[in-house]
Symmetry: C2
Subunit: 108 residues, 2 copies
Amino acid sequence: MNIENTQSQMRKGILEFCILSVIRRGEAYPSDIVEEMKAANLNILEGTLYPLLTRLKNAEMLTYRWVESNSGPPRKYFSLTPKGEAFYGELEATWNELANAVHALTKK
Amino acid sequence: MNIENTQSQMRKGILEFCILSVIRRGEAYPSDIVEEMKAANLNILEGTLYPLLTRLKNAEMLTYRWVESNSGPPRKYFSLTPKGEAFYGELEATWNELANAVHALTKK
DNA sequence: TATAGTACTATGCAACACAAAGTACTAATC
DNA sequence: GATTAGTACTTTGTGTTGCATAGTACTATA
């Protein structure tokens, strides 16, 4: 029981929401996602990001296309499906409810 | 990949923070904790609460005493140890950082 | 050709919320 | 007194995901 572990636990379920938020704003490939999240003080590791993107794709929330890169290997650009768009709305509501509940409970 | 599962994942690590918050405000027994959390729209199940309280006790964040009840079986009243108090401070900082990061990323 | 940088894939583990089943104590009812 | 109901706590097993690690593949550069 230490703070690093608890932080990791706290991130579960939330990273999914964050990733969809980044992609929802515009087609993005994994490094884009990493950069945007890092800019918001959310560091995500490839061991988490790639399987998560794969799960989201398999669940039909995301779709992707390969784009040749002019400075390295090809990149996988992801975008939201309509199903992913709807799911995003649910995630947003769920997160807001949770955050508000925690705020209400801990700030009294 | 559905909203109920994601909600459950989102709660991981957070419930610990909430429980310590309730107990920090004053000695409490499990049903007290359930009621206070329910009032804040955070429902916690016994299968989660009791093992969590046990983990916190085993990690020396909590201590407890038995109190006879005048309307049923005895109750286990929990309170924070100094170590638990310090850990709470870390949890609060960690949660705030995470919540702020998510807000920054998703509300732009 | 070998190396470096970039991009992506696969696998195994630890931890916790959830679900369910069970034990124990006390008061009320028969 | 025996049984039932309500309250309180304990135990166990499962599924999921972030983390950690190792690996493959593509392109540019030396």
